[in-house]
């Protein structure tokens, strides 16, 4: 793939270490916790999340569509059957305020980053091919862009495949102790010497 046409010029340089680290922390926080279904829907069917703004939810939903075209592979839909964005929403509700603010900043930047190179278009307005090109450009961009993209990529993918409905497709067994009825040993005996 030729990356020469991809968006790098004309954008604010984003190389501050602290911000990059924060993005990573946000990503890790996004990968942890959150198991339940969240969100409700408006009368026109659009999901509403308690802890994500409309724009954040749109960005994450679009990113999920781009990163995980699961239905093409006969896997549960990453935006319908498996509540990937709702899982992230739940996590956002448990985040410390500082981490939550950082997540907002990461998503804000990600949404606007392509404007210089894609006809002033935001990420959520790119067509599938353009959106994929944008994501790939970020993955091979500056160290900040690579970090940001790795973070979001991991967050979305983990919050899809952590759902037990995806496991049969991978032949993954999930927790087994209860299923197997493994006996507990309790505390180890006190040493004799």
């Amino acid at each position: 793939m030729n990356n020469n046409n991809l968006p790098t010029a004309g954008l604010e340089p984003l190389t501050r270490r602290g911000f990059l680290r924060a993005a990573t922390l946000t990503g890790m926080a996004l990968t942890a916790g959150c198991a339940s279904l969240g969100g409700r829907r408006t009368p026109n069917g659009e999901a509403v999340y308690a802890h994500l703004s409309e724009e954040e939810a749109r960005v994450l939903t679009r990113l999920t569509e781009i990163l995980l075209p699961t239905e093409q592979f006969g896997l549960p839909s990453s935006t319908g059957e498996v509540p990937t964005v709702a899982n992230i929403n739940d996590m956002a509700g448990d985040m410390a305020p500082q981490t939550r603010d950082l997540m907002a900043m990461v998503l804000w930047i990600f949404e606007r980053r392509p404007m210089a190179s894609f006809r002033f278009s935001r990420f959520t307005r790119l067509d599938d091919e353009e959106a994929l090109r944008y994501v790939r450009a970020m993955q091979s961009g500056t160290f900040f862009e690579r970090g940001l993209m790795t973070t979001l990529h991991t967050a979305v993918c983990v919050n899809y495949w952590r759902d037990s409905r995806t496991w049969p497709g991978l032949d993954y067994h999930g927790p087994v102790t209860g299923i197997w009825g493994v006996r507990r040993l309790g505390n180890a005996p006190m040493p004799t010497a």
Partner: protein, 517 residues
Amino acid sequence: MSDTADRIDTVEMPREGLAVVQASDISSERLELSADVVIIGSGAGGAVSAYELARRGLDVLVLEAGPYVPSKDFTEDFTESLETLYEDHGGQANTDGDLLVLQGRCVGGSTVVNGCVSFRTPDFIFEEWHRDYGLTDFTPESMAPYFERVERNLSIQENRPHEIARHSMVLSEGARKLGWSVKPFKRNIRECALTGHCLSGCKTERKQSMLVTYLPWAAAHGARIHSDTRVDKVLTENGRAVGVEGRVVDRTGRHVADIRVTAPRVIMAAGAVQTPVILQRSGLGNDQVGRNFACHPSFYVGARYPQPIHPWRGAMLGVYVDEFMHPDKGGFVLEVGGLGIAELCMINEPGTGKPFVEYMQNAPHMAGIVTLIHDHNVGEIRWQGDHKAIHYQLSDKDFPSMMASLKAAVRMHLAAGAEEVFLPSSEALSVTREADIDRQVDKLVNKPQHLRMVSYHPQGSCRMGTDPAHSACDPQGRLRGVEGVYVADASLLPSSLIVNPQVTVYALANYVADRVT
């Protein structure tokens, strides 16, 4: 000091669980406690110290910042475990954000969430400590009684044939084809149930972590354990420790109470990141506190095989390659490790969109190798006024070792029959035949956010030695510049071990405890 005979005569231990004072048990806004010894941290160093001192008759109080999670509450869900059992919810990272530093943060510390791998300190590491740091008391012979003691107490034994999972069998064959030395791990486990969920805590207490061994034993000898208790400072008067102060914070982050403990001895066992941070906040120790941080930066090198492997089935860690362990032979170790779905999402970048979904669909055909190098102590832990900072970048001196370990891991995969080996990079790079190893791996450069690294073994930030100009602690684990403060965790290690450090930390903690006066 309490009477030894009285305490030993009254030893009783519950069959399951542990008596721990948690935030939910605290009803007052201020706790005032006293003890003969206060121990900060309940992991490998803290728990062993607590037991050894309590059985001597000392009144021991253990303060743990993390929560108490009994084994039965472990979920076997790694993403959830990151949230509940790990430091910073699994997000502890260096300042560049490209190195995750995974540490347990719960009663029992990292011993609850590790892979059970149990190595003694390699002989050549003791030689290095002797030569470079004047630590003449530490030899394989002098430390043997300590190793034997913890190995016996923790049921450490070599993996038996049924504990070698398919991933380890396949990769053993690859190593043998290459003529490399490959051996079964020793692990601290009883009757392994082969569930494969070690990193989420062992739900049935088969892993002999501190949660089910030294902590209940210490408690049976009278040691008290408080969880949810974050120590802010070590208190001193006239150059002597007099106790600690901190806060009790519940699991939602609510400040429940202030705590102050009066004690003439303080043992720091909060781990190689937190121990120097607490000492720096307290203004204690020399300028070596926080320096010399090493972390065993690791790659997880995954590969796809033509046959199903199911890397989550069976004992998580089966065999290791020690062919290159000695620094003269490369200075790295390859460990065959299982992995779950969440880890598969994190370790590789096989491509975006369809290629990633295809990669995940091949999950049952994946196997992995963890690389460990003998990194130099180039990092630093700093308290920045309101937060900790882990300054660690892979040094140019260590980069060749990392690349050598990666190339060896790729070779081993290919020799074992792998179809495609994924390189641990932010780019989608892989190798499918031996002739391409150098060309592909040499594309990797030592720059931030290019390599995907994890540290499971932070160490060295309060290292011991005979020279005060280059060590924070003396050879007996005493912090320099103040009386009554000891360090008994991986912070003490003067150089990185190259192997998993838990047994070394147990032995060192026992050694230090024997010297607490």
